[in-house]
Assembly symmetry: C2
Homo-oligomer: 300 residues x 2
């Protein structure tokens, strides 16, 4: 699985022995595992094997990055039906290598077995560069809330694919392969982020985990969520609400973090709200009521 | 998944956030992933969920230990059919925790998803305590070959189960839950082992990997393989050859290693041969010809 692929310097011993050895320069390793199942987390009629491979690695690396870590390695467990074409398995692996490379990580180990359906389990590793991990529990009242990455693009892509279309490519591509901001996690940690999370289930849903873990509330200012023209176009064509996608759409794997003040918010991050007394997550000071509620609010 | 379970000191941040943080005291982490599928790697009509959980962790930790590492943590990806009883999932997790505990490791992360069949992916982590990893490629002509752990027990158990019996418990239990010698890997590394491997597929098969990676031959002295009375009894009852089980039976997860001399072989390890010019693996200087060949040889 390593032919022609180059390991980064953090791979001290790559695949081929009983186990790999990966650098953990400050004496700690950050680790996370996610499992993706065909038909649940991806569809091979919607995505190429390469895209599925990229996605499976991206969603795992995003978890490591959300602790403030620098990605170092991924390990892959692949369960394939007996009739899986070799090209599919090779495409999956090629996509995994490519996505790991984008994040500066290596594919250091794997196991392939036969099963009834395609199941991909990825473990991602990273290092903290001497800093404390940025957990979900450190948000303090008065902190600013910011995000980095994309919001709503994968949801827009899902809406497009769900209606049988294959374009526009930009949003469909975002659904097939998320683009987590790999460098932004460590950037936020260095800047003094007080809490951070990977947006996998939707901005409001994942902010709910931060609010709960930190014992605070989070208020999103809707006006600060700038809707990209592309999302406006797609939403207009489908009769959908693009802000709803940004607030509730999952699978983009942006990062949301809280910072102790405006001067701490790094370049590339957008302030979208603040930490309040709580509990819970609000939009413009009120509970978000979904698309209908949103429509109502927009007419105010 | 952590209720009432205690993390070891190496777990710096346990489950519940985007990722866990695990100690890697010498700046390196050893990592390995294995996937187990129901009906292929385990059977829930032969084993309890607890036993399957223990086995899935044991086979992974054995890979980490075979590098000379001290186990620190496991991460678990679990794909379960929708109708899986809660008790089965709880039993699996209880077994995983128990086996990790036996090895001194914690269960630091996991992901549970729905799938058509039960697929368990485990990633095991460990640290090297400042020593070089012991790979498959360091065996040198003249080294002694030794093993630690059990050989042939799981194969005997499989033979018993395959004929519909449930006893003797000792060998059936060995099939259900291997007992890798968790401390013996680091022990061998400290003693100066030149190569090491986890015996998962059978002694001769796995020694073949060492011979190939090291560019040497390995000769097993059959007389040094002491057959336990329990294996003799089972073999006698089934009309099988216990030495064949020891030479070719998999799933016991003993360790085999080479040492530069008799004085280097640690307590608890049994010398069973030596490193020769090669190539390949021989038994008493000759290629092993399976059960038939073995019978022939035994009549010499």
């Amino acid at each position: 699985m390593t032919d022609g692929r180059v390991q980064p310097p953090s791979t001290l011993l790559g695949p081929g022995d009983d186990a790999a050895v990966v650098a953990a320069p400050d004496g700690r390793v950050v680790a996370s595992t996610d499992v993706l199942v065909e038909g649940v987390h991806f569809r091979l009629d919607w995505s190429t094997p390469e895209q599925v491979g990229r996605k499976s690695v991206a969603v795992n690396l995003a978890d490591v990055v959300a602790m403030g870590a620098v990605p170092t390695a991924v390990l892959v467990g692949l369960a394939c039906p007996p009739g899986t074409p070799v090209a599919v398995a090779e495409g999956l692996m090629a996509g995994m290598w490519e996505e790991a490379r984008l994040a500066g990580a290596g594919v250091v180990g794997g196991d392939m077995v036969t099963a009834k359906e395609l199941v991909i389990s990825v473990t991602a590793l990273g290092h903290l560069d001497g800093l404390d991990p940025v957990t979900r529990s450190g948000a303090r009242q008065g902190d600013l809330l910011a995000y980095c990455g994309r919001l709503g693009w994968a949801a827009a892509g899902l809406a497009v694919l769900g209606r049988g279309f294959r374009s526009p490519v930009a949003v469909v591509g975002a659904q097939r392969v998320p683009e987590p901001p790999y460098a932004a996690g460590a950037q936020a940690a260095r800047a003094g982020a007080t809490s951070m999370i990977d947006i996998s289930d939707g901005l409001l849903a994942d902010l709910g985990h931060v609010a709960e873990a930190s014992g605070v509330g989070l208020d999103v200012r809707s006006k600060s969520l700038e809707v990209h023209q592309r999302l406006l176009d797609v939403a207009s064509a489908l009769g959908a609400d693009p802000l709803h996608w940004m607030l509730t759409g999952g699978e983009d794997h942006a990062l949301a973090a809280t910072f102790p003040g405006a001067e701490a918010v790094p370049e590339g991050w957008t302030v979208i709200g603040s930490v309040v007394a709580g509990p819970g997550v609000t939009v413009d000071g009120r509970p978000y009521e979904g698309a209908a509620g949103w429509e109502h609010w927009r007419r105010d």
